[in-house]
């Protein structure tokens, strides 16, 4: 089914509240199942806490909170997606990881408006798939925006 390597990419599809999100699998270092998050008081609200990743302390960002939804208690389905942001491993807490899809890079469409009330700036585009729409998360924008607000 591959025509040309450059035109295809693998997307990991995951869910945050009722938004289907996607990330290029190459940007994901790993997905953690065991959620042992230590809460950090006085931290910005979107920081769920810190966790130990094989001896390294990573910051865990609650994507729900970033999207403007009410945070929920941890449950079995939740996962931490570990990605690299400014050379540092950072965790994204998502509600559930669904699937991995092979998509044609050309098929990505720009976002016309906010999705379910979530700021469109957090996404770099959208894919139409059999299962529905998946918005590709722009982790840079997601993690940078707040950093500016809170770090003066």
């Amino acid at each position: 089914m591959k025509k040309n390597d450059q035109e295809w990419m693998e997307l990991t599809i995951f869910q945050v509240a009722d938004v289907n999100c996607a990330m290029d699998i190459l940007n994901i270092k790993e997905i953690i199942k065991h959620l042992e998050i230590t809460r950090v008081h006085n931290a910005p609200p979107y920081i769920r806490g810190v966790a130990s990743l094989r001896g390294e302390i990573i910051t865990v960002v609650d994507v729900r909170e970033k999207f403007g939804f009410e945070p929920v208690p941890l449950n079995e389905d939740m996962r931490i997606i570990v990605t690299s942001y400014k050379g540092e491993n950072t965790g994204l807490l998502v509600d559930r990881v669904l699937d991995v899809h092979m998509v044609d890079t050309d098929a990505m469409e720009p976002l016309a408006s906010n999705i379910n009330g979530v700021n469109r700036d957090f996404f770099s585009g959208i894919y139409k798939m059999e299962s529905g729409l998946s918005a590709v998360l722009n982790t840079e924008a997601l993690l940078q925006g707040e950093l500016n607000e809170h770090v003066r």
């Binding site: 950090v40 008081h41 006085n42 810190v50 302390i57 910051t59 942001y85 809170h150 770090v151």
Partner: protein, 1036 residues
């Protein structure tokens, strides 16, 4: 000659050169100190170091390095031969040369483009001025060195050739072949140079690429000549063996510097046997060395030097002469950083023994892993336990061993300051002697590296602001040379670094003025601060004392930066200063940063690590006492701790981000845990829910998103694998805007306390045996409390005993003697251990309730029974006070007999008699108990009046007085005044036993002539003081 592009050789050369030059700076300073009284060995050492650098640089084509080293070497050589006395000016020139040399070596790749004219001119000037008149020219004269066949190899300086041939040395020219003599013998040209330098003095070397023919011709015996000109004391017949080269490729020079093939000389030697030396000089194959003045050839500054030849070689005139090239230099320097490699030493020398230890431990670890894997298969719990223990042990040892490899002596940093102090003092026209102590103290590499900047700042501050110039010192009657002491020592697992000067000190008035001027603090606040607190203001952010900005200090960074830098290292800083006496700054640092011991505390379900460096003490305030000890003053919550007030914060509030809110303690039914911490300039208390454990933690940084939080110093991973945050004690105090509780308020409180009731208060251990009866024992009498298992207590022949530390501890119970209800058996009873008759005895109880301070309002009649000395109301309950000595005496009458016998046996010499004046029978009994126990005769009195009567009656017998302060009729102060008024009691030691703590009270007591002010039931301290005063009499 072109630079040789061989990374490996260059790298080795640079590494070695850095090593050679490493200690030179301090050597120069040492030489300067010696002055005319020269230490030739030291000069030789420096000379050799510079010489080695020159040798290598010449070969590698690093011409500027070679040239500079060469000039330094010339100057040193004169010194070495006693022709030049190292004055401070000369040393300054050498030091700046050394700086430049280091710079060249660090930026070796572009060193050939760098400007060294200034240094070279100064060095040449100094050399020329020192030479005798007839030799002056030799500095600039070069001689051509040619082979007997007339082939011109290179030029060498006449001066150097002259120097080389002195002291019976013979000059040789060796022609190595890079291929046959060096490459095939697995050597490098640097090795050859090193070999030669060991036996003699290298003058010049060169790889002669031009001499290599084209590849076509004479392919078989192609040579790449490598010429080395050197001087050694070795005779012609031995030199070939030394450098491992056939005689046919070695030439030698006679005194007139004519060149001869060595083979010819040796052949002749065989023929002529003894007469060799005379004939040596005669067969002159014509002068091969032409002399020529090379005035035009050397770099432009040279002619200017000649004009100045006769001028004094003071550095001041010289720098004016070379072309002002600072700009161009800066440019080359800047451009260089972008493209060329710069040498940074990234290697670390490790003691071979440390490495061996590591290897052994690694081996152990592998074995233990195998053991673990095996046990997993066998499922043997006991084996598993063993293996885990071994892993535990090996891990700790491994950690220690690895730490050891990172440890470096602090002298590395300290010794750099000799130069800083010297240069700075010179510049400021001050005389300062830097005394360094404890340079062998070792610390982790990271700390050693990080401590440099803060220390530099402190030292510069000290020389710039602290130390006065010579005239001012003279006016003050101080010695002209100021002493600046830099010391390091180990103290309780930390390193204490002190910077002490005997300078002007810090004037609190000036700090006050500055603080007010900057609106830093209000006049009212200042009013309430002690001088020491005022001085500590300099650690506050943004506070700079410099009156004007100089280039030495006051460039916008002040002590506050030093303070925060040290805090980052987990260190603390303290300052003490007295006007015109001096300033002492003490820095405490951990030995290592990577792993720190810490206390784990809990608030709700969160755990936090609190570094033990910051930890002062742990205080538990029981629910009943909270209302008394914790209160609000001006919106700040404070705790009363041993007479002082401590600001208090609730960690829960800190975490909720609520500024000054406070949990209502009065509603709290449980005891409050308070961790008293040190935040640099003051202490404060943190309320936590629970104290969990102490753990060694590994500090990990927090991520970008959390970096800005003041509350945390980082994070760590606890034993169960979960992350926990590390509290930043200084950060929290800043976030909560904590201030030390003002001194004045403290004093007011104290006065209030004095007014309210001058009653004795005492720490009491509260116990129970499982019924409603509550007992108390003065804490001061207790040696230890042990929690044991019920089975450990054995009963043999009617005696309870505990196997304990290899011996047997007799254990009593309260009900053995006193008519109280028998103890309820528990699984883990407590044994309170105290000393009786020089031996330890235990009392078993079911529960320990608490330790409380209570005002000793003791009813000595109602419940008086054997073993019970009286009663009191503590925490709203009737509490029986246990008479430990009475208990022990009644339970073990034989021990009492033994004691008396012993006392009688020992009473061959006079037994000392002590008068105890004390109104509380309870205390009187306790004190009498332990003093008699220690073998003294005791006389007692219930107040001052009775005390005086006793003293009058037994004037001759009493050797020492112990007195209470608070007593009816005549108190301890009045009593002492009366006693001291009498001539015959001038030398009587009087010790006050009190529970009224506080400086004021103590001062009053000492004023009337009390020798020592002791806390009542601190048995050990009271006894040691009695002994001391009986032996040595009154001091002063």
């Amino acid at each position: 000659m072109a630079m040789i592009e061989d990374d490996e050789i260059i790298r080795v050369f640079i590494e070695e050169s850095t090593e050679h030059l490493d200690g030179i700076e301090s050597d120069f300073l040492e030489i300067e100190k010696d002055g005319a009284n020269m230490n030739v060995d030291l000069i030789n050492k420096v000379f050799r170091a510079i010489h080695s650098v020159k040798g290598g640089a010449g070969f590698l084509g690093l011409d500027k390095i070679k040239e500079l080293a060469h000039e330094m070497e010339n100057l040193l050589n004169l010194m070495r031969n006693g022709e030049l006395v190292p004055t401070p000016e000369i040393i300054s020139i050498l030091l700046s040369g050394n700086d430049k040399l280091n710079e060249l070596i660090t930026h070796y790749a572009e060193s050939n483009e760098m400007d060294i004219a200034e240094e070279v001119v100064m060095l040449k000037g100094a050399t020329t001025a020192a030479l005798p008149e007839e030799e002056k020219d030799s500095v600039e004269i070069e001689e051509k060195i040619c082979l007997p066949n007339g082939y011109h190899v290179f030029c060498a300086k006449k001066l150097e050739l002259d120097q080389a041939q002195k002291a019976g040395r013979i000059l040789y020219l060796a022609e190595f072949d890079l291929l046959r003599d060096i490459e095939r013998k697995n050597k490098s040209p640097l090795d050859i140079i090193k070999e030669i330098q060991q036996a003699g003095q290298l003058v010049e070397s060169k790889v002669d690429i031009a001499a290599v023919g084209t590849l076509d011709e004479q392919n078989n015996n192609m040579r790449i000549p490598f010429y080395v000109l050197f001087a050694t004391v070795l005779e012609q017949d031995l030199v070939g063996k030394l450098i491992n080269l056939d005689d046919s490729h070695i030439y030698y020079f006679n005194k007139e510097r004519n060149i001869f093939p060595l083979s010819a000389a040796n052949d002749a030697a065989e023929e002529l046997a003894g007469n060799l030396k005379g004939s040596e000089e005669s067969p002159a194959p014509g002068p091969n060395i032409e002399q020529e003045k090379t005035e035009a050839a050397p770099p432009p500054p040279a002619p200017e030097v000649k004009e100045e030849k006769n001028a004094a070689p003071v550095g001041k005139s010289a720098p004016a002469t070379p072309p002002k090239s600072t700009a161009s230099r800066a440019k080359t320097g800047g451009a260089a950083k972008e493209s060329h490699p710069t040498f940074v030493n990234e290697t670390l020398r490790v003691n071979l023994k440390d490495l061996d230890t590591l290897m052994t431990l690694a081996g152990e670890l592998v074995l233990t892993r195998n053991q673990l894997l095996q046990t997993r298969n066998q499922n043997d719990a006991k084996e598993l336990e063993n293996a885990i223990q071994r892993v535990d042990l090996i891990t700790s040892e491994l950690q220690e061993a690895i730490m050891a490899t990172r440890m470096q002596p602090i002298g590395i940093v300290f010794n750099k300051f000799q130069r800083v102090v010297r240069d700075l003092s010179k510049k400021l026209n001050k005389k300062t002697e830097l005394v360094i102590e404890g340079e062998g103290v070792e610390m982790d590499k990271t700390i050693i590296e990080a401590i440099g900047d803060p220390l530099t700042h402190l030292i510069r501050n000290s020389v710039d602001h602290g130390i006065e110039d010579v005239e001012t010192r003279a006016a003050k009657g101080k010695s002209p040379t100021a002493i600046l002491r830099l010391s390091a020592l180990h103290e309780a697992g930390q390193v204490v670094i002190k910077v002490e000067d005997d300078g002007a000190g810090i004037d609190p008035e000036r700090i006050k003025a500055k603080a007010l001027e900057n609106g830093f603090i209000s006049a009212a606040e200042l009013e309430e601060m002690s001088d020491n607190e005022i001085i500590k203001l300099i650690f506050r952010p943004g506070f700079s004392m410099a009156r004007e900005v100089t280039d030495i200090s006051g460039r916008g960074v002040g002590m506050d930066v030093v303070f925060s830098n040290l805090s980052k290292l987990g260190g603390t800083i303290d300052i003490q200063s007295k006007v015109d006496v001096g300033t002492t700054i003490s820095i405490k640092l951990p030995l290592t940063l990577a792993i720190i011991p810490s206390l784990i505390v809990r608030v709700d379900e969160d755990r936090f690590a609190l570094p033990q460096v910051n930890l002062v003490e742990l205080v538990r305030v029981s629910a009943g006492q909270a209302a008394n000890r914790i209160e609000k003053i001006d919106n700040a919550v404070v705790m009363r701790l041993r007479g002082a007030l401590l600001p208090l914060i609730d960690l829960r509030q800190v975490l909720r981000g609520e500024g000054s809110g406070f949990t209502n303690l009065e509603e709290n039914n449980e005891a409050t845990n308070i961790v008293v911490v040190n935040a640099g300039s003051f202490n404060y208390g943190i309320i936590v829910d629970d104290l969990l454990d102490s753990e060694e933690i590994v500090v990990k940084p927090l991520g970008l998103h959390l970096h800005h939080l003041e509350t945390y110093a980082g994070a760590t991973i606890l034993g169960d694998g979960r992350a926990a945050l590390i509290l930043d004690i200084v950060g929290i105090s800043k976030a909560m805007k904590l201030k030390p509780v003002k001194q004045k308020q403290e004093e007011e409180e104290k006065q209030l306390e004095n007014l309210l009731g001058q009653k004795d208060s005492q720490s009491m251990l509260l116990l129970s045996n499982g019924h409603d009866e509550q007992f108390a024992i003065p804490l001061g009498l207790v040696s230890r409390i042990e929690k044991i298992r019920k089975e450990e207590l054995t009963e043999t022949s009617g005696r309870r005993a505990l196997k304990y530390r290899g011996g047997t501890l007799i254990v009593l119970a309260i009900e053995d003697v006193a008519p109280v209800k028998p103890r309820v058996e528990t699984n883990t009873p407590y044994v309170v251990v105290f000393k009786y008759g020089g031996k330890e005895v235990g009392v078993v109880v079911s529960h320990i309730i608490d330790v409380v301070d209570f005002l000793t309002d003791i009813d000595e009649d109602t419940f008086r029974q054997p073993g019970i000395v009286g009663s009191s109301i503590i925490m709203d309950r009737i509490t029986l006070l246990i008479d430990l000595y009475g208990l022990a005496a009644a339970a073990m009458p034989e021990r009492l007999v033994e004691l008396e016998e012993e006392v009688q046996r020992g009473s061959g010499h006079k037994k000392n008699t002590i008068l105890i004046v004390e109104d509380s029978k309870f205390f009187l009994n306790q004190i009498k108990g332990f003093t008699e126990d220690a073998g003294y005769n005791v006389v007692t009195a219930l107040d001052g009046v009775e005390g005086l009567e006793r003293l009058e009656a037994m004037e001759k017998e009493i050797d020492l007085i112990l007195t209470d302060i608070e007593m009816p009729n005549l108190d301890g102060i009045g009593f002492t005044r009366e006693v001291r008024a009498k001539r015959e009691f001038q030398d009587m030691p009087i010790l006050a036993l009190t529970s009224v703590a506080g400086e004021e009270a103590e001062k009053a007591a000492l004023e009337v002539g009390i020798d020592e002010y002791l806390i009542k039931l601190d048995r050990e301290k009271v006894l040691s003081n009695i002994e001391n005063y009986l032996q040595n009499g009154r001091q002063n």
